[in-house]
């Protein structure tokens, strides 16, 4: 074309940059706006320390499953079975812990293995027999739900031993209590210092990356965006950390979640496996012809999903302190919605871990906020559905405009 001569590295203007990245900033802004909105309409209940702790506990399993689901969706597939896997894992953990009296340190890894096997059982049909994942996992959803009823004999099992419950109710102990300057205000010094350290590291790492990029001539985002983004994240994180510190500290689940988010962000952005999954989702034939074993890759994304669903299943079972046949009904939809709100593409190849996490929290904050406001489950569903549609429309609109 005529204008293709501008191959020089002309710096994009701030407006252009915003236009090209409106999705990512938009998502963050949306989360903050939704949080502030509910903070206001609930008269400040949303950010009460107890409620923040609740928010984390209530959403951790959605976030954890969204990590696996994002990989599945990026690979060009879908997994409808995760809600049933959650229920089945809850059931067998109950059998092993309550009926057989096995210790938690045996049951937890065993359940993760079983989850992996359940993922593998579905991944096999998708990857090697080329049956559409929608059908395979729809079948899996029914089969695993059925198995749950069989295993539990239709009745809930509980309560669970203490050490298993710690999975979801435990907090990181305050081993730094001696540093506490204001014991009457701050209950847990570890929480506060951990968050401060994390924010410090994030800012340090961000600046370091920018400097390295500059040295290598790679484009940076405009400094003003970097600064605003860092400021928003720092303020939100420090505030939440402070609130948690005035209550019982950091929930174990939050730590597990943070570690997993970091791990999967790393996998998707830096590892060869991640890169190959994105390539496969973008064009499976070209990826296969590039010498990549796409079948094996697909298989492992389902195994991975199974393991994460098992972890989520144990967390929720521990939280409810009871394994019921109806556990996890409809979870798959929340998880999938989180990924799509977070910008994943239904046709594969596109999506970010951080997007799925923010998507999950948008859903979570809305659930929580609406419950506090006393909005019924009927309207909650309606509103969540509209938010999902609006988020995806926003994507499509931007793409067509661009």
């Amino acid at each position: 074309m005529v204008a293709d001569t501008s191959t020089q590295n002309n710096k994009p203007s701030i407006g252009d940059y915003l236009k090209n990245n409106i999705r990512e900033y938009g998502l963050l802004v949306a989360l903050v706006v939704i949080m502030l909105f509910f903070q206001f309409v609930t008269n400040g209940v949303l950010f009460k320390p107890v409620n923040i702790t609740n928010l984390v506990l209530q959403n951790s399993f959605i976030v954890i499953m969204a990590l696996g689901m994002l990989l599945i969706i990026v690979a060009g597939h879908i997994d409808l079975s995760v809600g049933s896997i959650v229920a089945f894992i809850g059931a067998i953990s109950a059998i092993m812990l309550v009926k057989w009296g096995l210790p938690a340190f045996v049951v937890i890894p065993a359940c993760l293995v079983v989850g992996g096997i359940m993922g593998a059982a579905q991944g096999y049909w998708v990857a090697y027999q080329k049956i559409p994942s929608f059908i395979v996992t729809l079948a899996g959803m029914l089969v695993f739900r059925g198995l749950t009823y069989v295993v539990l004999g239709g009745r809930p099992i509980g309560p669970f031993p203490k050490e298993f419950q710690l999975l979801s109710t435990g907090f990181v102990p305050d081993f730094l209590y001696f540093l506490n300057p204001a014991p009457e205000l701050i209950q847990n010094m570890v929480a506060l210092l951990a968050v401060v350290a994390l924010v410090g590291y994030a800012i340090y790492a961000g600046i370091r990356d920018r400097r390295i990029n500059e040295q290598h001539g790679t484009e940076n985002e405009p400094f003003i965006f970097f600064a605003i983004q860092m400021a928003v994240i720092a303020v939100v994180a420090l505030f939440i950390g402070f609130q948690l510190a005035t209550y019982r500290g950091l929930p174990n689940v939050l730590i597990a979640m943070a570690v997993l988010i970091a791990l999967y962000t790393f996998i998707t952005t830096r590892s060869t496996i991640g890169r190959r999954i994105y390539a496969m989702g973008g064009n499976v034939k070209a990826t296969k012809l590039s010498g990549i074993n796409t079948e094996r890759l697909t298989f492992y994304t389902f195994v991975n999903m199974g393991v994460l669903a098992a972890l989520a299943g144990m967390i929720i079972t521990a939280r409810l302190n009871s394994a019921t046949p109806k556990a996890g009904v409809g979870f798959e939809l929340d998880v999938i919605a989180a990924c799509f709100i977070g910008g994943a593409s239904a046709s594969g190849g596109v999506g970010k871990i951080i997007g799925a996490v923010i998507g999950a929290f948008i859903m979570g904050v809305m659930n929580n906020g609406m419950s506090i406001m006393g909005i019924g489950i009927d309207y909650q569903q309606l509103i969540k559905g509209l938010v999902l549609l609006a988020a995806v429309f926003f994507d499509v609109y931007n793409k067509n405009k661009g």
Partner: protein, 511 residues
């Protein structure tokens, strides 16, 4: 003098940041075949989209006069109502519907929404006869070849009372026999008084059928040549297209041929779908270091299938035969093994099979050899960027940066990205399947130059192409394939369009 059916005056069409058409004028006489040529991006398709109402009146400047009146088309159906029918390069047929259903799709012979099948079938039969097809109207589109599909598209156009037929690269995916049939059909329509505009890269075909040729370059009209007042040679057309005389379309090369690299013996392959049908029979060939070897043949001769079955059994089944690299047997049973053995295969269809279009240049470049820029599964960003930048400058890929998505690149630059990807696996033998299909002449020259460089570096090149001049211009040796067999091996001295066609024809008689 003549009756002008269409005149486009001062057409200017701007996209954000790009002037795609700049004051283009275009005049077509009634009853002629008018060829529209130009490099990719010259504005041919844009001009036709303006004409047919894809870009509605008001989104461009200029005037369209058609049939003696000024027209402002705001939708495609406006132009179709007046008999302007466009057949796009990518066929718009529904594969799992029948010929009859496709021809009358959206235009069904029906009353109150109920389709009148007997009449539909009768009309279809009539139309098919006009385009020389004897298929039943109930045949599914997926069951007929691309050549016949193209004819069905034309029959569909005829069903709409076409006065001006526009064909956008109608023969790009056709073999020579099918192309000839199509061109003959156009000439027949001309005797019946129909006007056609044909967009094509195949200059020999244009010379065969066109009455006038309009050349576009960089969004502007260069000239309109009248084929009857002077003899227009291909070089004359190319000069207009590229703006300079291209004495030699193929860069010169001094072949330095070394030892035998790839040797394939008794390669037998059965058909992928029709599993009891043997498709390739005892295929034998060799490729030596520094040598460019061509495979000529018609569409369906088994050239792509040979390459794909060799490259990790990507096509066919019950594959038997021997593959040696530098005299040693190698295992090519999976794609990773074939790559390890030193093979690389640049596919025919770069958009579907060559590139991950939504990924950027960097990610596509390293896809086949990610290990080389990673340690223990973690990608080294800087190393990867360096590799991609090196190939980008070495192969002169024109882009903003290595972070540009490949979907936004031109055909020639996309092909260079695919080549980068395979060069980064450091292969000994590169199989290039139609490496210059659908790219403009300037970019073709660059691809040939790259091929020459690779041969000079001692790599073996196996080149599959449907364009015989290209094989003749670049290869040291040419194998001719027909119906799954190698039917001739011609040295550079022996090879000519005639000798290749003779080999194909003679082998056809034997079976």
């Amino acid at each position: 003098m003549d009756n002008i059916i269409l005149e486009m005056r001062g057409i200017t069409k701007t996209f954000p940041g790009v002037k795609a058409l700049d004051n283009v004028s275009f005049k077509v006489r009634e009853g002629e075949i008018h060829a529209l040529v130009g490099e990719n991006g010259a504005g041919k398709s844009t001009l036709m989209k303006v004409l047919s109402g894809v870009y509605p009146a008001g989104t461009y400047e200029g005037e369209i006069h058609y049939g003696g009146e000024a027209r402002r088309f705001s939708t495609i159906s406006d132009s179709e109502d007046l008999g302007i029918i466009i057949i796009h390069q990518e066929l718009a047929l529904v594969p799992l519907l029948s010929i009859a259903e496709n021809i009358f799709l959206g235009n069904e012979i029906a009353s109150n929404g109920v389709i009148h099948w007997p009449q539909t079938f009768a009309r279809t039969q009539e139309l098919l006869k006009k385009v020389g097809l004897s298929e039943s109207p109930a045949t599914l589109i997926t069951d007929i070849g691309v050549g016949k599909q193209q004819l069905v598209e034309i029959a569909k156009a005829l069903s709409k009372k076409v006065r001006l037929l526009i064909l956008d690269e109608p023969t790009a995916s056709l073999n020579e026999t099918d192309s000839d049939a199509l061109l003959k059909l156009l000439m027949e329509f001309r005797t019946q008084g129909m006007t056609s505009i044909i967009i094509s890269h195949k200059l020999n075909e244009i010379r065969k059928v066109a009455d006038q040729i309009t050349i576009l370059r960089d969004g502007g009209t260069v000239e309109t040549l009248d084929c009857h007042s002077e003899d227009i040679g291909e070089d004359r057309i190319i000069k207009g297209m590229v703006g300079r005389a291209m004495e030699d379309r193929y860069p010169p090369r001094e072949p330095k041929i070394g030892e035998t690299l790839l040797e394939v013996k008794n390669w037998n392959v059965f058909h992928q779908q029709h599993r009891d049908r043997q498709f390739l029979h005892d295929v034998n060939f060799t490729v030596r270091a520094g040598e460019v070897v061509g495979i000529a043949g018609l569409m369906g001769a088994g050239r792509t299938e040979t390459a794909m079955s060799l490259f990790g059994k990507s096509w066919g089944h019950k594959i038997t035969g021997e593959v040696k690299m530098r005299g040693k047997p190698v295992d090519v049973s999976t794609i990773p093994r074939a790559i390890d053995a030193g093979l690389a295969y640049v596919t025919e269809d770069r958009k579907q099979l060559g590139l991950v279009l939504i990924n950027n240049i960097k990610e596509n470049t390293t896809l086949s050899n990610l290990k080389a820029v990673a340690s223990s599964g973690v990608i080294d960003d800087r190393k990867e960027a360096k590799v991609a930048s090196d190939y980008r400058s070495k192969l002169r890929i024109r882009s903003h940066s290595i972070y540009q998505e490949t979907v936004n690149l031109s055909g020639g630059n996309q092909q260079k990205v695919v080549l980068s990807k395979w060069l980064f696996t450091n292969p000994e033998v590169l199989i290039l399947d139609e490496p210059t299909r659908g790219i403009d002449i300037g970019a073709k020259y660059e691809i040939y130059t790259i091929i020459n460089q690779l041969a000079a570096e001692g790599k073996g090149i196996l080149m599959i192409s449907s364009e015989m001049p290209e094989l003749l211009g670049t290869c040291d040796r040419i194998y001719v394939m027909n119906e799954g067999r190698i039917v001739a091996e011609l040295s550079k001295a022996e090879a000519s369009q005639e000798s290749i066609m003779r080999a194909i024809m003679r082998s056809g008689e034997k079976h």
